[in-house]
Amino acid sequence: MIEQQYKDLFQQFRSELDANSVEGMNRHRDAAFDRFQQIGFPTSREEDYKHSNVARAFDADLGLNLRNIPIPVNPYDAFKCDVPNLSTHLYFLINDRYYDKPLANDPLPEGVYVGSLQRFSEEHPDIFNAHYGLIADYSDNGVVAYNTMFAQDGFVVYVPENVTVEKPLQLINILRGGVDLNVNRRLLIIAGENAHVKLLVCDHAVDDVHFVVTQVTEVAAAAHAEVDLYELEENSLKVTRLSNLFSEQLEHSHVVTSGITLHNGYTRNNYCFRILGEHAQVVAGGLAICDRKQHIDNFVFLDHVVPNCTSNELFKTVLDDSATGVFCGKILVEKDAQKTQAYQNNRNLLASTTAQMFSKPQLEIYADDVKCSHGLTTGQLDEDALFYMRARGIDKEEAKLLLMVAFTRDVVDLIRIDTLQERLAMLIEKRFRGELMRCGNCNVCK
């Protein structure tokens, strides 16, 4: 049994694991291991993983860099980021490790901490311990338990109360390796009361080996805080991305996320939003463009615990060739969550006869005074629109492209960084034109 191999590895290398991490992270490993022993990796026998047999990704013979052997990389060489185009504070993770060389960023507002998760846990143990591992619930999620066992470093954003970080932050996850690798990465985003911050996370695989990446992101938005988290995946076909985002928000907070999959191999994105304070809002967007044998599975769980909150989900998928798409959207409106407004939209476009889409909305509503709706469509391009455009002299292929770009428009519109919107619109068009080759460079910055 493959799973056993990882359990053995964990026990055998426990001292190296701990020695190359920090107490704040180490203290969670035992409980996570206990749970992992009970549940293991999810397989397609589980309803929520019916179309994504995640366990299979770990069948491969994967290395783990537990001893933190340095991987030589100069991210500035690998990514000649032309910052003026997208003006951000720029940071890097090399696999799961924070890139700890000085970066040419403007100073951040006072009290803001952005950087290594390890160091943050040592410099601000109280804040770290009050959040890390507490938002990401692994009780029924083997991937998150596994990540908690093995994660040794990662990236943190901490914005204290009443502070606004004007310029967006940008984290580039660089995957490097000479052999097939398993990477377990952590992200922690803490926004204090009335704090405002925007973060863009870009995934890029540099080397042509297999990567199996687990990423656990914890977001804590205090009262009146605003957190924007945008993720852009541009990985190769050889990358398996297993992302788990957990967000908890308090009253009057506003969380906006958008996951854009431009190029990938095998991707499962789990989103778990818990709304714990009244008058909070969440906007969750997602867009995937897949072809060849790419696989995208977006799984969203949205928990309305308290009254008077609003959630808005918009997930779109464009599938060509033999690509597979999965969407599952669970909305839970708990008994006390009166006056909830929850909207879910899932729209999928099939550009070939061999692409497959599996989509499932699940609404559980226990309050009686709520507005909830869901819409789901999977179809082809509108033939009438196509003919209308051709009748104006527009080439059939060009017309299709315009319609596909148009299809993605409203997801891009959810993003609250104008320059990123423009950049993304351009990248999407390039992607459809086949001009965006598999990752190898940071297309957002270039």
């Binding site: 003919f387 209308y388 455009m389 051709r390 009748a391 002299g393 527009i394 060009e398 315009l402």
Partner: protein, 247 residues
């Protein structure tokens, strides 16, 4: 310019056009009239190349070329324009991008460079003013949220932008109030020259008060059963179609 000979066409295995013969010369305006379901819109769709319709017999020559061999986009680039009876809404595609793509595809076909941005904007403004269209309409998505009248104006606006040689207006007058009708008709008249031709497909004589046709054809059950001058339209207005259908 256009020669239709013995045209038969089917949709969903039902024959709609059963032998149409029609010749249109440069500078002419033809009106095609007839009761509902007589095949008027099918004729327009077949001319534009809508793939939902299949031509089973007959031929169409456009400027001497075999029109039926051409893809819809090539028909448009050759100078054929259809004003849709039901213009299609295309959310997410702005009018500006749509028109720029259309104009440039036609230029490319003629071996010309893409239109410079400033010329394009000026062209848009001139033609928009010609139709009395609100400036915000052209910044919106194609036809999205347009009223019925705005959609029809938008068709004529596109026609003005593309200056076609043969325009087919399919029920462009339906759903227009009297003021909008006048604006649309004025637009069509301004665009009419000695070199181009227009086919007006309509139910009513109303439009023909503003646009004078050279010939009026009555289409019934897939055939042209009567052709005459403008006076035929007036007679139809008075007497209806019955005297022609059941003589």
């Amino acid at each position: 310019m256009l020669q239709i000979k013995n045209l038969h066409a089917i949709v969903e295995e039902k024959e709609i056009l059963k032998g149409i013969n029609l010749e249109v010369k440069p500078g002419e305006i033809h009106a095609v009239m007839g009761p509902n379901g007589s095949g008027k819109s099918t004729l327009a769709s077949v001319l534009a190349g809508n793939p939902k319709f299949e031509v089973t017999r007959g031929s169409i020559l456009f400027k001497g070329k075999d029109l039926l061999e051409m893809e819809p986009e090539d028909r448009a680039r050759e100078g054929l324009f259809l004003s849709f009876q039901y213009p299609v809404e295309i959310p997410g595609v702005s009018m500006v991008n749509f028109m720029r793509a259309a104009v440039n595809e036609q230029r490319k076909y003629r071996g010309e460079e893409p239109i410079p941005a400033s010329d394009f904007l000026k062209l848009m403004r001139d033609k928009r003013e010609l139709l009395g269209m609100d400036s915000n309409l052209v910044s919106r998505s194609v036809n999205e949220g347009f009223s019925g009248g705005e959609k029809k104006k938008n068709e004529i606006f596109q026609m003005a932008m593309l200056s076609p040689q043969l325009s087919i207006l399919d029920e462009t007058d339906s759903g227009l109030d009297i003021d909008a009708l006048r604006v649309v008709a004025q637009g069509v008249n301004k665009l009419q020259t000695k070199e181009n031709a227009t086919i007006l497909i309509t139910h009513y004589q109303r439009l023909l008060e503003y646009i004078k046709p050279d010939q009026v054809h009555v289409l019934y059950a897939g055939r042209i059963i009567r052709t005459g001058g403008p006076e035929l339209a007036l007679e139809l207005e008075k007497r209806g179609y019955d005297w022609l259908i059941n003589p």
